[in-house]
Each structure stands twice: as structure tokens, then as C-alpha cells.
Subunit: 365 residues, 2 copies
């Protein structure tokens, strides 16, 4: 067998599918849940019940650019954004399967570094890579990751928030949007923001802790805090009121704001792709360590309430993130009778318009 790690100039087509798969799966660690790993028609896992699952696609030119992110970062991000969805249910991610398609003239090293990133983040997140599909594309690189997880405790949906609950957040918001902003303007700093865009820092383990602490609803912050809390408020039939003073502006975001003129609160409140977790807890609950209280849940008006289940069932994403475009669209958090998410008691009307290479693809409703 030829080795896949030869000359850096070799392409996928030259190295070939089987050698590449061998290089990727060689010595792959298998967690406790893995009964059968890569190498058969399907993997077999012991996950108990319920099994949690979600799929996300990353498409070149939409979710990443090869001149903005190295292959290893793309691999790490592909794992992280998926695991975040299991966290947001209060579960623990256990395994992933990965689809990778790329043109035959892609440098084999890019694919190998992507795989190294996958393996690195999977190890960090405690998930096992148990299978995949490697195939040619005509032009774009497209990556699909499906994550499977388990839940030791209660599964936390988006729909359980009640009036009087407190809203709490763990993880960062605005960092990835800040990084994307500077990349879009041709810069590579502040490095912390650019790195945050390349690989989100998902608060692994926090979802299960929140579930055990009695979280009533939870969501992965992929589209932006206001947008995602809007989804949660829609599903729960409530209004969420955030306190602006609950948010500090971290130093890298101050730098980006100063350099670009973008309102730093727009970054923090509407920037996507950091994959923080937002959750609601009963009043008086002990909020787990490292979660910050950022607001409260209020009762919605009667007409909002009547629309709740219809909206929750029909208007949310199928699951996973939405191929988020890094900026919120204000109608995301507006119910048919008014805004679902307020900041200091009023609708957010701040600037959201930083440069972005991905035009939004949201439905109007």
C-alpha cells in the first residue's frame, strides 16, 4: 500500500480513496460506546436511550474559505458545531460519522490535515469517529458531520421556558463574528477573534450540567444570541428580556469595534457561530458554575400563546444550525404580536451590518 503522506503536492486522486481512509482511520481511538468502528457497512454503538442525533453541513465558500481557515481548523470546527447541538439537549456526544467530498485535484495534505483536526477535536470533545464516506465532488469541498449522543438525565428542549425563569449563558458570543469581520476586511488580527471564528470554543459538558441543574429550555447559540433566544422564546411561547449590563465587551471585541465602527453590543448580541449555550432555569434555581445570568423570561400575550405550538412545530429549523450567516435578521425574534426577545425591555434595533461573504438565506415570515 502506498502511504498517503508522501509529497505535499500529491492530490486526492493520486493518493486514492482507500489509502486516504487508511491514513485517517489508522490507530483511531474508540470510546466505550463503540461496538463496531470504521470498516464495515455501518458502525454499531451502545448509547442507551434516548439516542440524540443531529447533522450539520459545512460547505466551502459558505461556511469556510480555504484562504481564511487552515484545514485542521475546518476539521475541528466541523466536530465542534455538531457536538454543540447535543450539548444543547442536555446530552453527551459520543460518536460522529463524517462525510467528506472534494475535487480530485485537492492536495491530499489538505484532507489529511482536515482529518487530523477532526480527530483532535473529537478527542477533546470525548467523541469517537466511527465511520464516514469519502467521495469526489466536481468543485466544492462539502463536509457533513452527524453526531450521536446519549443523555443520562432529562433531555432539555427549546420549548420548556416559563414566565419567571432566569436566562443564563455559558460560552462566548460575538467573538466569531468579530473574527469574520476582520477576515472580511483583509486582516488577520486580533488573533483571538480570528481563532474564535476558525474554531469555536464550545463549552463541552456544560449542557449535561445544566440539564442536571434543572434547565427548563436550552439552545445552541449558532445564529446569534437574539436569533436563537428568539427560537427558544417562540418554541416556549414566552418573551425574553435581556439585561444589556449583563454583557461585558471582551478586549478583542473592543479592538474590532474601534477599528470598524461596529457597535460591540451588535457583535455580542447578534454575532453567530460561537456555539455558546443559552438556557432558562426556574427562579431560585442554583445556576451552575460559569453560567452567567443575562435576563428573565416573561409571559407572552394571549395571541402569542395561541400561536405557540404551531410555530414551534413548523417554523424552526429541522435541527442543527441553519448555515448561519453571522448576523441576525430582526424578524427572527419577532412573534406575530411583537418581539420575542427584548434588551432592557425594548426591541433591539442596533446595527448588525458588518461585512460578510455569506448572504443570508432566511425565509420571511
Amino acid at each position: 500500500m502506498r502511504h498517503a503522506t508522501g509529497s505535499p503536492a500529491r492530490t486526492l486522486a493520486e493518493v486514492g480513496e482507500f489509502a486516504l481512509i487508511a491514513a485517517i482511520t489508522d490507530g483511531l481511538p474508540a470510546g466505550d460506546a463503540v461496538i463496531i468502528g470504521p470498516g464495515d457497512d455501518a458502525a454499531a454503538l451502545d448509547l442507551g436511550s434516548p439516542v440524540l442525533t443531529s447533522i450539520d453541513l459545512l460547505v466551502e465558500g459558505v461556511h469556510f474559505r480555504r484562504d481564511w481557515s487552515d484545514a485542521q481548523s475546518v476539521g475541528r470546527k466541523a466536530v465542534a458545531v455538531n457536538v454543540a447541538d447535543i450539548e444543547a439537549m442536555g446530552g453527551t456526544a459520543r460518536a460522529i460519522v463524517v462525510g467528506f467530498s472534494a475535487p480530485g485535484d485537492l492536495a491530499a495534505d489538505w484532507a489529511l490535515e482536515f482529518a487530523a483536526g477532526l480527530r483532535e477535536e473529537a478527542a477533546y470533545a470525548g467523541v469517537s469517529l466511527v465511520g464516514g464516506d469519502l467521495t469526489r465532488s466536481t468543485r466544492d469541498i462539502a463536509i457533513a458531520v452527524t453526531v450521536l449522543g446519549s443523555a443520562a438525565g432529562p433531555v432539555v428542549r427549546r420549548s420548556g421556558a416559563g414566565a419567571g425563569n432566569v436566562v443564563a449563558l455559558i460560552g462566548r458570543t460575538g467573538w466569531a463574528a468579530a473574527g469574520l469581520t476582520v477576515l472580511g476586511r483583509g486582516f488577520r488580527s486580533p488573533r483571538a477573534a480570528v481563532d474564535a471564528y476558525r474554531v469555536p470554543e464550545v463549552p463541552y459538558g456544560a449542557g449535561a450540567v445544566a440539564a442536571a441543574a434543572g434547565a427548563t429550555a436550552m439552545i445552541d447559540v449558532s445564529d446569534g444570541l437574539l436569533a436563537d433566544l428568539g427560537h427558544l422564546a417562540d418554541a416556549s411561547g414566552v418573551v425574553i428580556d435581556l439585561r444589556r449590563d449583563a454583557f461585558e465587551i471582551p478586549e478583542p471585541l473592543q479592538v474590532v469595534s474601534a477599528a470598524t465602527g461596529i457597535d460591540p453590543y451588535a457583535l455580542v448580541l447578534t454575532g453567530g457561530e460561537d456555539h455558546a449555550l443559552a438556557a432558562t432555569f426556574p427562579a431560585g434555581a442554583v445556576i451552575p458554575a460559569e453560567w452567567r445570568v443575562i435576563g428573565t423570561v416573561r409571559e407572552a400575550s394571549g395571541s402569542d400563546e395561541a400561536n405557540r405550538s404551531d410555530e414551534a412545530n413548523r417554523s424552526d429549523e429541522a435541527n442543527g444550525d441553519s448555515g448561519s450567516d453571522g448576523s441576525v435578521e430582526s424578524d427572527e425574534s419577532v412573534g406575530e404580536s411583537g418581539p420575542r426577545v427584548l434588551v432592557d425591555g425594548t426591541p433591539w434595533e442596533g446595527a448588525t451590518g458588518w461585512d460578510h461573504f455569506r448572504p443570508g438565506q432566511r425565509g420571511s415570515r
Copy 2:
């Protein structure tokens, strides 16, 4: 909310992600295994143990062409090729999650018809669509399907075939390759062959029946019978000898052969993408109904045996099919000490060269 089924000229970008998802998930049936379906960060399923899972990608221009297959057929095929992987483990597919990326200028009706095909085949196969990710791409349509399944009985791997076993087959081979051949030459008939290429006829349920009947090894025939039996023989460290007279040439394949000059046995033995199931059973076992005995398993030479575990672990695909190219490459079924799969006791050297828009992307070894 706008309705997604408006003017046929409307594009994905015009209809929007949320309206499209609503149209796709509206009234979606949920099977017994579904605890939480679409609409949250992840789906939740009750699958028992083990959970079987596999992912497959379908990429426009590689796995399908919009001028050769209608959207509904592509949707049906996306489900079928995945479910076949669970069948091949002796399991029962229960749920799928689907990633779909397409350029914003794609006609919304294409996506809706694709989704209708997904739903149709999912209903036929008895699986529930429980989640997805819908996102923009810059150019290609890329589809990822991950299937989750359960196994009531033993899981059947590729590696369990033993000398003296009989080899049996259920489902069709050569039909999809025949269809692809005529499409590649600009024809649309014989219709049965073209239809077989567009939507494989997977023998749903046959995998679990074979497992219960004591199958020792099993594989999804996606790359072609000789290629896939080569994988099975590699993993099991055996040689498989097929009987040519076990194969009849169906009428549509006779037509294609007559029109193109392609050896019909090349179609049957090396044509991929029909997703038949091939399995081995102990000598004397009662072979389940509709399975046809096509050959026997022989002991490999000593040097082959020594190479077995190494090849099985390192050279197989990660899982799922390989982005099959419809033709076998002869080295797939050749071990280091000789061929792994024989036809009437001799290596297959027949013609495999029909037209195909997808160049092979196999590794040499």
C-alpha cells in the same frame, strides 16, 4: 408565513430556509423510535442497543445529474443507499437525518420534489426523517444522509465468512450500470434499467432475515458484486468462488448488451449501485426465501490468512459505500497472494469498460 409551493420559477433564496423546512417537515410521520423529531437542536430516538449508523454523500455531477434524474428520484436514492448499509449489518433502519446544500438560485420546486422523494422512500423503508440541515452552497448540490438503525438479533459483519460457507445474493445487480450506460450514450431506454439507476430497489427487510437465518457475513453491493465480495473476502480472509451459471441475464440487460456490445456478465458481476445484499451462510443452513445461492467460500492460502486482519482494518472503506463509480477495478478483489473472488474457479477478466461520467477514484495498493 409564505408558502413554499408558489410559482415554479421561485428559487431557494426567494422561498427561504424556514419556509422550505416548514414545507418539508409539515405533517411528517414519526415512527415508534422517535421521541423528539425535527425542530430542536437534535432529535431524540429510542433504538435499544446496538445503534447502527452510516453516512453517505450524494454530490451533483458525481452521484447524480439533474438531466438524468428527477429530483424525486434523487431523494428516493439518497434514502435507499443509506438504508442498504443498515440492512447489510442485519439491522433495521429506523431514522434518518438529512443535510442538503444547494445554490440559492436552484428552483425551490427541485428541493421540494427532492424532499417528497425522501419522504416517499423513507415511508417505504419504514424510517422516520427526524432532522436535517439546509444550507446554501456556491455551486453544487450536495446531499448527506445519515441513517440510524437497530438490531433485534446478531449484527452481521463482513469478517465472519468461513470456508465451506455458501454465498447468496438478494436483489438485482447490473441493472443500475445498464441504466447508466444508456444514459451516458444519450438514451432513455430500456426504461427499467434507467429507473433502476435512478432509484435502486433495495431488498428492505432482507438483512434482518438473513441475520436471523444465521448469515456469517454480509455486505451491501454498492461498488459491484466482485468488488464488494472482494471486500468481504478480504475482511474474512477467505476466497469466494462464484458460479457463472447462477446468474441469469434479465431482459433489460440483454437489450443493453445487444445495443452496446458490453458483456452482460460484466454488468451483472461488476455493475454497482443496485444495492443488492450478498451474504454467506453455513453449509446446510436454510437459505431464506428469495436469496439465490451464487457460490461458495474457500479457504485462503496461508500467506493470505496472515495478511487478513491488517487488510481488514486498514484497507476497507470507513463505512458506507465508496462513492462508487459503477465499475469494478480488478485489484479490488485481488489479495496479495492472488484473487479473492473467482468466477468458475478463475479470476474474472471480462470487459468492464462502459462509458461513465465518473472517473474512478480508487487507491492503488
